[in-house]
Symmetry: none
Subunit: 231 residues, 2 copies
Amino acid sequence: MSEEKYILVVDDEPAILDMVEFALKRTGFRLMLAEDSMQAMSRIAESKPDLILLDWMLPDISGVDLARRLKRDELSKSIPIIMLTARAEEGDKLRGFEVGVDDYVTKPFSTRELIARINAVLRRAEPQQDDAGLCMRGLELDPSTHRVGFEGEKVSLGPTEFRLLHFFMTHPERVYSREQLLDRVWGQNVYIEERTVDVHIRRLRKELATHGCDKMIQTVRGAGYRFSEQT
Amino acid sequence: MSEEKYILVVDDEPAILDMVEFALKRTGFRLMLAEDSMQAMSRIAESKPDLILLDWMLPDISGVDLARRLKRDELSKSIPIIMLTARAEEGDKLRGFEVGVDDYVTKPFSTRELIARINAVLRRAEPQQDDAGLCMRGLELDPSTHRVGFEGEKVSLGPTEFRLLHFFMTHPERVYSREQLLDRVWGQNVYIEERTVDVHIRRLRKELATHGCDKMIQTVRGAGYRFSEQT
DNA sequence: CAATAATATTACAGCCATATGACAGAAAGG
DNA sequence: CCTTTCTGTCATATGGCTGTAATATTATTG
């Protein structure tokens, strides 16, 4: 808890912004500011904050949509999000939670409440570090050590293959199109041939094949690829 | 998302119709038109739309009555309805919501507002159909994993057969002509022989037959095909 | 029951999606 | 600065999928 946490505040109302800024700085957080979704995304790209305070209403892309986007991207999905909303309607809240938002604060709110929620969410998020070791059918991947193994044997992968496998193991059983994979494994602003995905799938399979577990990467013709424990 | 949504517009004013048609087509929706309630019902019987835009005032049966009727029928009750009304009176709105209408747009309206409402309603309705695995009489289809099974056994289908079955399972108990199937399963700008549908029906049935559930795809002579749980 | 229409079934050739191997440039590491 | 590894693209191979037509079967009609 010694290290200072960075909080990105996304809001276009100066009044709110001032209040939040004052309260958070006083409590010992470091701030990053953005006035709309575009700015928010570039801030995040520059430097990953520890938590995002996100207004429901924004000038460009709506807060929920931004949240959905962030929660979909491999790089930003682990960042907790607290939404600020004027509406207390249950429907909206539900939509937010579906998207993966971590908590809600309804305007008007006290700084005390805000701080409390932020601390609660940060505490909850702490142990949820993404370096929990993954294991499926003997195939182990440890993000913290950046190692992959199969039943004790060492599996050696290049950086991209590692990220690809990591994505698959955290999203098993589901089919992803080449486009989605490019978006989520490579990052959203890259222009790369879709066929390139095939090649990396091939490289990943080739290495897995030496250990006899390449069948876990499955081709779904006309749709994309899937990582699965089942045959 | 990926698939084109069908919207049935029920209105007898050419001016409104033109405007709506232009706006919706531009946004990428597929249109179905009806000028009164009777037409609307037969359109729905032909092919189930994903959403209905319903004028309050119609030449024959009033819009509210039609809405009530649709919301009572098992086959059409899940279709979201947005009412178009000139009156802003709360009483009318209430009556509409009681009937089960999903949203209201008061004339005059901007196309932007209309589109926004449509998207909102569709998004709200989405989680029912999009990701939820479908299951009927032991036959399971999961769009997210792209897997089909029958009582645990794996059912393997080609891409077209998968889409065909997916369409059928989301539109059960209703007859679709070959033309309609080509339109909705293959896409709108395809020039393909109608007989080709027979062949894909055959392929689908053949695979289903190995699991003993091919009876669910039924031929309706002179009309088309139907997917049904009943025998 | 014959004649006709609609659907079922089969076979097949072209096409399209994916797999694979090779390569040059970029990045990383020594 | 050189070596090595990694990356993205292309060319080619392969195999499955697709649409069509030809033929068989079944239903409808008079």
